[in-house]
């Protein structure tokens, strides 16, 4: 395989990893740090994408749409935190699963009701379109480079917030013992609403950014949800660094698996079965990766003791 292609695939893996991280960032905060299982994370991602598509179409201004995605998702997040999630902290994880499963239904069908069943149009503003030529002559879409940058910035920001600010410390303390942190004078409910809304805003931002090069449609959040969970769990719950590394690992594995497996298998079997079997294996690869990581390190790569 030509060097340039390998380089491009590696860059794609990195980029896909960053995209995964961006999609998982909100979940890292809510699931990883607050310990709340929010299956409706994908719905917030969808809310962001729809808000962006709608506003961008109405005003013709992508950036306004992006802002709208942040606001709409944060508002939706704060709303469900106050109306639903808040009542569930003291309950079993399982009630959270059921409630957020119900929220998926409400959000998906509600969105369809508002916007119809057909995918919406959302594409990049001219400033972000096109390809740039990298050193070595590699042509690479500008937008994908932007994703890498935004992902990296979000990672650093989150990491600083969680480990370095009092807000972050208090969130983690609240996750460890809600009653105790309240008894020390921290209004944990308000804190959780803020954090949840922040996580939702990140999900919305990811939905808008990623939606503009994928498709904006009802149900777009579901595959993301699973991938985001995989990412967070591989990295270790509660660790931002873990989520980032997990995302890159998943991105690399998936991209390189897809690119290389059929070729490798073709040495052992005929081309067409190598193509299909290679593709099936590639689609199982990240789950295999996750299972292997967890069997070797039950608490994920960077997680504290399980």
């Amino acid at each position: 395989m030509p060097v340039l292609l390998v380089a491009e695939q590696a860059l794609n893996g990195l980029q896909y990893g960053m995209m995964l991280f961006l999609m998982a960032a909100g979940l890292t905060l809510v699931f990883g740090v607050m310990g709340l299982i929010n299956l409706a994370h994908g719905s917030l991602y969808m809310v962001g994408a729809f808000a962006c598509a709608w506003i961008a179409a109405a005003t013709g201004w992508f950036w306004l749409g992006l802002l709208a995605s942040l606001i709409a998702a944060a508002a939706a997040g704060a709303l469900i935190e106050i109306l639903v999630i808040r009542r569930l902290y003291s309950r079993d994880h399982l009630d959270q699963v059921l409630a957020t499963f119900a929220l998926i239904l409400v959000f998906s069908e509600g969105t369809r009701w508002l916007f119809g069943s057909f995918p919406l149009y959302l594409s990049l503003p001219p400033a972000l379109t096109g390809a740039v030529t990298l050193p070595g002559g590699l042509q690479y879409p500008l937008f994908r480079l932007v994703i890498i940058l935004v992902g990296g910035a979000v990672a650093v920001g989150l990491w600083l917030m969680i480990t370095r600010t009092r807000l972050g410390i208090r969130i983690r303390a609240g996750e460890a013992d809600r009653e105790m942190i309240a008894a020390l004078g921290v209004d944990i409910s308000r804190l959780y609403t803020i954090v949840f809304a922040l996580g939702a805003a990140l999900a919305g931002l990811a939905g808008a950014l990623v939606g503009s090069i994928q498709s904006v449609q009802v149900g777009m959040g579901e595959p993301v949800l699973i991938l985001a969970f995989v990412t967070v769990v591989i990295g270790g719950i509660g660790s931002i660094k873990g989520a980032l590394i997990g995302a890159l690992l998943v991105g690399m594995t998936d991209t390189l698996g897809k690119a290389l497996l059929p070729g490798v298998l073709a040495r052992f079997m005929d081309a067409s079965s190598a193509n299909t079997i290679g593709a099936s294996l590639a689609s199982m690869l990240i789950y295999i990766l996750m299972a292997v990581v967890l069997i070797l390190r039950p608490q994920g790569l960077f997680g504290a003791r399980a």
């Binding site: 149009y121 042509q139 879409p141 500008l142 897809k258 593709a279």
Partner: protein, 359 residues
């Protein structure tokens, strides 16, 4: 005698747009038929795009509602779950869309009619176009599931140039950077891809961003009217094989397209057209025979004596259509993206499985 029709189609979930168009096309035909359709009693149920739900609805329609005829399923996997059992219980099935090869060859059935096409046809049309246009090398790509495998087989059946790569993607995949990198390095003259629904939208948008400018070819599914607005300019210029287009020049089609736009305020899609044809086929058979006389009714259906929006239309021996296929190009009419017929590529085309059908 009245005919009770059970329509099982997808009205909720990610694929709802297709089912809604199917239903709306079907109902438009009934409406336009006026009194002639008064004998038709239509039940519509949502299969949620889940095969088990589809089976249960079919059971219900057959056991409780005692329908005479079923129709409406969009997806092949749902059709495979429902159709054989329905025909085994003596019900007619008219397919508005899905027509898997298993039901066209050895598994054909006297009570099963595909009014749409056979699944491979659209891909065959694309292959025929690639050959006709003299494209030397093609990169081909589809999701890794039976319909995807059939699609590449269909393409290759009519294309005889060099295949540079044959790539299977993940079902539901949303990021295509890795595939685009392979395309960039393939040296192909064209790319044939079959990526239904959101997958296609994502691919086209990313492809447009990538700086790669190898022309794209596909089957009609990825460029039907429900998809195009979302794909946007990224779809412009793509060639796609189809059995219908809204600019097909025949009176039935003109009535249909105009009626659909007035009734529903949007452009009709392929699924709507096929739903419309199916209803008209049914009405034509009802005017000739009574459904209680199954043999006569079947004969009446097989005559296909109705004005198809596709112009020429007849059934082959396996009760799948013999029809013309075209290559369409995605164009912009004013602000609206739509398809325009470029040229016919296959005329009076049947399918590859008819010979296996012993009926």
């Amino acid at each position: 005698a009245p005919v009770k029709v059970g329509m099982i189609t997808t009205l909720s979930g990610g694929g709802a747009g297709l089912g809604i168009d199917t239903r709306d096309g079907f109902m438009l035909a009934l409406k336009q038929a006026g009194d002639a359709a008064s004998e038709v009693e239509l039940l519509v149920e949502d299969d949620q795009q889940k095969p088990d739900i589809a089976v249960q609805i079919a059971d219900k329609m057959i056991q409780s509602d005692q329908v005479d005829l079923l129709t409406g399923i969009v997806w092949s996997n749902l059709a495979m779950a429902v159709v054989p059992a329905a025909t085994a219980q003596g019900k007619f099935y008219l397919s508005t869309n899905a027509a898997p090869s298993a039901l066209a060859g050895a598994g054909c059935d006297p009570k099963y009619f595909a009014v749409s096409y056979q699944n491979d046809n659209m891909h065959e049309a694309a292959g025929a176009y690639a050959k006709k246009a003299g494209i030397g090398k093609v990169f081909i790509m589809a999701p890794n599931y039976p319909a995807g495998q059939d699609s590449l087989t269909g393409f290759k059946r009519f294309y005889d140039g060099e295949i540079t790569n044959e790539v299977y993607t993940q079902v539901g995949q949303t990021d295509y950077a890795a595939e685009i990198a392979q395309i960039r390095n393939s040296g192909a003259d064209a790319v044939f891809f079959f990526l239904p629904g959101g997958m296609g939208i994502a691919f086209m948008k990313q492809y447009a961003e990538s700086g790669v400018d190898i022309p794209l070819i596909g089957p009609a599914f990825s460029f039907s009217q429900d998809i195009l607005p979302a794909a946007g300019d990224a779809a412009l210029g793509v060639m796609n094989g189809a059995n219908w287009s809204k600019d097909l020049d025949n009176p039935a089609n003109a009535t249909f397209v105009e009626g659909f736009e007035t009734e529903y305020g949007r452009l009709p899609s392929l699924y709507a057209a096929q739903g419309y044809d199916t209803a008209n086929l049914l009405l034509s058979a009802m005017s000739k025979a009574d459904i209680t006389d199954a043999d006569a009714f079947r004969a009446a259906l097989a005559e296909a004596d109705f004005d198809s929006v596709r112009g020429k239309f007849s059934f082959g021996p396996n009760q799948h259509p013999i029809q013309d296929f075209y290559i369409r190009e995605v164009v912009k009419e004013g602000d609206v993206l739509t398809n325009k017929i470029v040229e016919p590529v296959l005329t009076d085309h049947a399918d590859a499985y008819a010979a296996d059908c012993k009926m």
